[in-house]
Assembly symmetry: C2
Homo-oligomer: 197 residues x 2
């Protein structure tokens, strides 16, 4: 059995973590991006399907390729962020199930069932995107996720010739609380969002 | 700036955490369910839309109400779990945006745009479901998520007369590693799932 994590860890992962719009001018290293993935990959997915695919957009050239597909309100902050992760989902994820779920013919549960494929890819790449953000916070980074962008444009620029589709974007870096950080918005209370039956 | 969490925290949240099929006979308290939500609610969602709604199925009566809608392979373990969380999404989440995003007319960004409503509800309730699992692990509990069940049946039994639809289920408790815990399945390597551009 596990103990509770510390109050400081609760803060870092959830309570004082924020969505940052500005980041300090400090590099996010390739090693950190590997660390984040090496944690996030262990989060649970349906039949271990692991549909998430990620492009970590870091170079000036790649940022410029991304720029035209960002919404007006997200463009400047995204170009300025140390890294922007494009969280995508491989719509042919089931072709990897013989590798990922070797103890059963899990590929056959999905192949040919397009509504199940679509729901599984979307649900599980979203779950994995959340694990990625939690992992980023766990290694001491901050996140700025966004879903308002031109998905088809991003797909043609970064995933052409593949079965991957973009899901959402996450800016990564060291958050700058002195710039463009809005007051925390209210959350639903337990009783508004949950019940115990 | 935050420090990295400890190696023990990385293990508890990601590296040694597992999807459990069996749980120890030890209660998950209502207070713990509140703690989990009070952490998870702070995870980021699009425009703070927070579409996740949760029924924590804990009583024998509620478990029996859930039973007919579980897949054969998930039924016994789910009935035996201390708590089963039904993670749902409120398809009318945008009606709460005047409360949740008070600094702009965010409701108008969604109302009437059904594809955007559907995608936002599904993506963000999935993100929040992942935060809920990470929060459960952070407070020392273990998870057993499942997406194979009769969604329409669960919706009629638990969300009748509301705008909430079920997304996925999560068994919660103290994992019993001595029963039905399979060896860890392989994950995709960084290079199989990610690239740095």
């Amino acid at each position: 059995m596990s103990e509770k994590l510390s109050e400081a860890a609760f803060d870092q992962l959830f309570r004082t973590a924020r969505t940052y719009n500005a980041f300090l001018p400090k590099e996010v290293t390739d090693e950190q991006l590997h660390q984040i993935y090496e944690l996030a990959k262990f989060g649970p997915t349906s039949a271990n399907s692991s549909p998430m695919r990620v492009v970590f957009v870091k170079s000036k050239e790649a940022k410029e390729k991304l720029a035209p597909f960002l919404s007006e309100g997200n463009r400047a902050k995204t170009l300025a962020a140390p890294v922007t992760a494009i969280v995508g989902s491989d719509q042919a994820f089931y072709d990897k199930l013989p590798q990922l779920f070797p103890h059963a013919d899990a590929r056959s549960w999905f192949a040919g069932n397009q509504p199940l494929i679509d729901a599984t890819a979307f649900r599980n790449s979203s779950l994995q995107g959340a694990y990625l953000m939690m992992a980023a916070r766990a290694v001491g980074l901050d996140c700025g996720p966004m879903s308002g962008f031109d998905n088809a444009g991003v797909d043609s620029a970064f995933f052409a010739g593949t079965t991957v589709k973009s899901n959402f974007l996450v800016n990564l870096g060291y958050g700058d609380a002195s710039r463009d950080l809005f007051p925390r918005s209210p959350r639903l209370s337990f009783d508004e969002a949950c019940r115990i039956a």
